[in-house]
Symmetry: C2
Amino acid sequence: MAEGGSGSPGGESLLFLTDEQLRQGIEAMFFAYRGFTADPDRILAEHAYGRAHHRAIHFINRSPGTTVNNLLNILGVTKQSLNRVLRALIGDGLVESRVGTRDKRERHLYLTEAGDALEAELSIAQRARMRAAYRLAGPEAVRGFRTVLESMMDPEMRNRFHALKDAAP
Amino acid sequence: MAEGGSGSPGGESLLFLTDEQLRQGIEAMFFAYRGFTADPDRILAEHAYGRAHHRAIHFINRSPGTTVNNLLNILGVTKQSLNRVLRALIGDGLVESRVGTRDKRERHLYLTEAGDALEAELSIAQRARMRAAYRLAGPEAVRGFRTVLESMMDPEMRNRFHALKDAAP
DNA sequence: CTTGGAATGTCAACAAGGCTGACATAAAGT
DNA sequence: ACTTTATGTCAGCCTTGTTGACATTCCAAG
């Protein structure tokens, strides 16, 4: 209506940009995300945790020693929200919080052995779903998948995503 | 660890199935979904609604006259949760609920003019983000994107997704 | 050395949107 | 006619997000 995405396509094949195609993409994102979180959600429920705990555990595992503030920016929640989750994880002995040596205001976060175990349980399940989808779709499709997802991110999030990627061995 | 996704790849190029690649895909999904919902979230906040309202509005628009139970299955929430959202939308005059003629137990849901207006506002914003991402990535990547997302869905959700697709003109 | 600002943590209150349980009503089956 | 099933509603609880206020601790600038 406003942008005329469903108008007559130009000379090239722009049929993949019609409103109907876009709507299907939107719905695909919705349904796929449900599948994406389904397996971890089941595991988390057994441990009386939620997605918020999963996210914290994931990114602490990804960047051991990360500060609370860094985690805050990655997760995009308030410190009060994150603090509630971290308190639970620290209290349950899954996460260790060490006062910074250089800057003692900072708390550096690490997974304990128990935290590592839960992280492994969660990520193995989530990777299994991902691996099955990747295998079924093939490498070509996976490249496209990654390309579109990156284009969909806010620029700031894209930077964080790349920073994480590049930090990996 | 458990499935050995990072072991030596087979004869073909299976490097896209390494744990590291899968982890990057997982993180890409997380960050992309944030972008995916960001624009609607902003609009919804102005109207004092949330994502739950958006989802209901989207699928009522997609299948006018759908029953509450059908919507329930698509959204994957309890009827009590959905009811709270529907009551608000009906009370605010965005959705109309008509008692079924054949089976009077059913309520058939329709968007009013006002509901249509909000739906348009939301979906225009969301499609704009999607369109930009699609255009940047190109048709080939979009095909891959769609393929991987479909493979990631639970089978039941994949069926619902296809049913919606095929119902479209 | 003092002070301002930044990083962290805590407490309290509140809202959105999940959930379960209890229940009313209409339709369908026996 | 009575029971069962399907559907929708209401009430209450929980997680996880939000703001606001405030204490603490420390670095760094004046």
